[in-house]
């Protein structure tokens, strides 16, 4: 008996020791409190494509971070959308729109000490071009569209030559996507850059990036060349910025209210319940609508699907109650979407009058087109039920509200939730009636990457959105906006395009893509960039 008891103790104590050892292992260093450290929490990290390479990354949270590490030839004024000097002091564009000559600042260095000059710019553009040739679908490709080669005129003058006009090119030079990294970064492979081998000229340097966990930015000593929209001309005011990725909303909010993070910045705007809670906790809310398309649903008008009928499309447009959507899903002060673009997009033209909620009008249209309401409240015509399938990757309250709004006029919306792989396949196969898509860029040319089959990387969505005759009209307007850099002509072309998209119900705007960050009362000096990112150079923290 005693023997048995002792035998029991041997493995048990072994288990205890090994677990204790494990615990000690996990007891690594505790982060110490530092007044110069600002803590930012985003939502979930991008697990689909792990990359911090400015040219490859579309993930907007990464672009915020990159904006503060890598800089661009030009900047965009968040107030006016105008392109202003940054690393380039000035520039000229040839009348044919094919040659851009930049005069560069001569006082700029990369964080590894190497000089920022014409040859570094050429290295950057050529490396980006090489990557496009290797990987035609890389995200930055549309920004670089048309770029052929660079001529170094002298140490600080460079001419970028395009093979075909690109009306969005000047704006592209202001984006993170065409940020200039040090030649050392381009000597590395694109994969190494993706994992964080990023050396820029910005006010911060990237110290570490652990995918899905977080990253750390450290202040760059001796920095002093921001564009004129940044108030602080010198070094950043905080020493370090710790970014973490927290998937659960309640956990992120809780940490903020507890004071363990200073800024929370989720992808979706705060619902009003959260907003009130955060404001009670002393938070300042910063909001800006993201330039580029608003959140639109795009129809599938091909292969005789229901939405090939313009009358049904129009009825759907009228049946969407946008003010109620903004109020219910987000909050009472949330702006109501006014067109296929967000209001911060250059050449935005409001379509407000055409996007009025008019359920009676929708019912009249459907009745007139022969869709009769049955006893269950849903419409059908010739034995075919009025069903619209929305493909989605997540179950959102917004989609459910939309579903219920359309139900009221007798349209049966079916929300099909799919994993990423199936989602892509279903769009490709045309198995949908409505699907959402968006991109963020401070120039309307970005819509071409969604809706113009010649440029879009998702061509099934682009092709299906238009009936063939409408596609021709739209492409004509896209081209008109692209071949010129004359603001008046571009405004005219893109204005007409926005009219077309709404008049023909090719885009169903649902909500304005507002981006919101909550700042604790210790944080001062938050400033938006034109593309809805932030410049951390003005940020201050007072504890």
């Amino acid at each position: 008996m005693r023997k048995a008891i002792r035998a029991f103790h041997v493995p048990m104590s072994a288990v205890l020791t090994s677990v204790a050892a494990l615990l000690l292992l996990s007891c690594s260093k505790q982060p110490e409190a530092d007044n110069g450290t600002l803590k930012v929490a985003f939502g979930k990290d991008n697990t689909a494509f792990v990359s911090l390479d400015p040219f490859q990354v579309w993930w907007i949270e990464h672009r915020i971070v990159l904006r503060n590490v890598a800089e661009s030839l030009t900047d965009q004024d968040p107030a006016t959308g105008a392109i202003i000097p940054w690393l380039a002091k000035s520039w000229e564009i040839s009348p044919d729109g094919l040659e851009y000559t930049f005069t560069l600042r001569d006082d700029v260095t990369f964080s590894n000490g190497s000089k920022f000059d014409a040859s570094a710019v050429k290295t950057a553009f050529d490396a980006d071009k090489a990557l496009v040739e290797k990987l035609p679908t890389v995200f930055g490709a549309t920004y670089l569209s048309g770029y052929d080669h660079a001529d170094i005129l002298d140490d600080h003058r460079i001419r970028l030559v395009l093979a075909r006009p690109n009306g969005g090119f000047l704006q592209a030079t202001s984006t993170t996507n065409l940020a200039i990294l040090a030649p050392e970064s381009y000597a590395r492979s694109p994969e190494e850059r993706s994992r964080g081998a990023i050396i820029g000229t910005g006010p911060f340097t990237l110290e570490r990036y652990t995918p899905e966990v977080g990253l750390t930015l450290v202040k760059r000593k001796g920095y002093g060349w921001p564009s004129r929209v940044v108030k602080n001309p010198g070094e950043a005011k905080v020493e370090r910025i710790e970014v973490s990725y927290i998937a659960e909303d309640t956990v992120r909010n809780g940490k903020f209210l507890q004071g363990s993070v200073d800024i929370i910045w989720p992808r979706a705007p705060f619902p009003d319940a959260d907003l009130n809670l955060l404001k009670q906790g002393g938070a300042t809310i910063e909001s800006r609508s993201l330039p580029g398309p608003s959140l639109n649903l795009f129809p599938n008008t091909r292969n005789g699907r229901t939405l090939s009928d313009p009358v049904v499309r129009q009825a759907v447009q009228k049946a969407i109650d946008r003010p109620s959507y903004a109020r219910t899903v987000y909050n009472p002060d949330f702006p109501v979407v006014e067109g296929p673009f967000d209001k911060t997009t250059p050449y935005f033209r409001s379509q407000k009058a055409k996007l009025v909620y008019d359920p009676a009008g929708a019912e009249r249209l459907l009745d007139g087109a022969g869709w009769k309401k049955g006893t269950d409240g849903f419409r059908s015509k010739d034995g075919k039920r009025l069903v619209l399938r929305i493909n989605s990757q997540t179950d959102t309250p917004g989609n459910v509200l939309l579903q219920d709004q359309l139900r009221k006029v007798g349209i049966d919306v079916q929300i099909v939730v799919l994993v990423p792989g199936e989602y892509a396949a279903a769009i490709k196969a045309g198995k949908y009636d409505l699907t959402g898509s968006y991109m963020t860029r401070g120039d309307p040319v970005i819509l071409q990457t969604i809706l113009d089959p010649r440029y879009s990387r998702g061509s099934a969505l682009a092709t299906n959105a238009f009936t063939p005759d409408l596609l021709k009209k739209a492409q004509h307007l896209f081209d008109a906006g692209l071949i010129t850099s004359d603001p008046a002509k571009r405004a005219e072309a893109y204005g007409a395009l926005q009219d077309l998209l709404i008049d023909q119900s090719i885009a169903f705007p649902v909500y304005e893509r507002i981006w919101q960050a909550a700042l604790s009362k210790n944080v001062k000096g938050f400033a938006w960039t034109a593309e809805g990112f932030a410049s951390f150079n003005d940020l201050e923290i007072k504890r």
């Binding site: 319940a273 219910t328 179950d395 459910v400 219920d404 939730v417 799919l418 994993v419």
Partner: protein
Amino acid sequence: MTILAPISTGSADRQALFLGSAALDLTAIAGAGRPSSGWTLAGRVRDALNPLLRRPGFAIALSFLLLVLVAALAPGLLTGVAPYATSPADKLLSPSAAHWFGTDELGRDLYSRMVHGSALSVKAALLAVGIALVSGLSLGVLSGFIGGRVDAVVMRFVDVLLALPGLLLALAIVTAIGFGTIPVAIAVGIGIVPGFARTTRAEVLRVKTLPYVEAARLGGASWTRTLLRHVLPNSWGPVAVLATLDIGAAIIATAGLSFLGFGAAPPAAEWGTLISNGRNFLMTAPWLSLVPGLFVMLVVFSLNHVARTLDEGR
């Protein structure tokens, strides 16, 4: 979830541990050494239930489960409110006389959504356990009754299933066959097959050696007849208890998958989807997650209670 298998059934017989399986056969530990109860499928349920119903705990649990069953079969009896009708003006109301469980972020009545969600949740749980029961029972009978090579092959297969982490297996299966209640139920069901196979096998092995079964065989009854008339009915007891327990386990597993985003197609919602959707409001409208969470807890607890009481009553 398979780990729940042994709980219901008794003390350890260590020798049974080594009946040739890579993973340990807890159900075998549990099953053997218990006096045979002579439990038959149809006959004695009523007799067995009568004394049990006098226990207040059992009676309460059973009536609660019956109520849930009513909700699943005829939700209209318990609520007249439409579960999917949004009402933006009434969003996030706390529980009151008008909305017993409050309203959600789109102003839908949570009580009505719970009642209507019962149909999906109960269906999913029953389907999962049904699948596990049928395939587990067949595997177990095959294995225990035929023995030899067949036994070895089947039990290795069961070991493989047991070694695969349940939720990962379910995730992979759901991704393979799609989202929604039924795929989730199938995935969960496959995950609990090993428990049934092992329990059944252990029972069949035990019953096979009972004197009257041998007598039946010697008396000239065919194997099929012996199996159907003697072995199966007598192996049924622990399997039934396990099935009751696993309905609860299936509800929990389904809720977990809903949390990861694999639930029913919106706007329909199982209990798990409701708990999971409500979690974003834990600070601002806690009832949205607490009420369905507590409800699921009560359902599963009642199932466990019923199963254990049945087990102890044998």
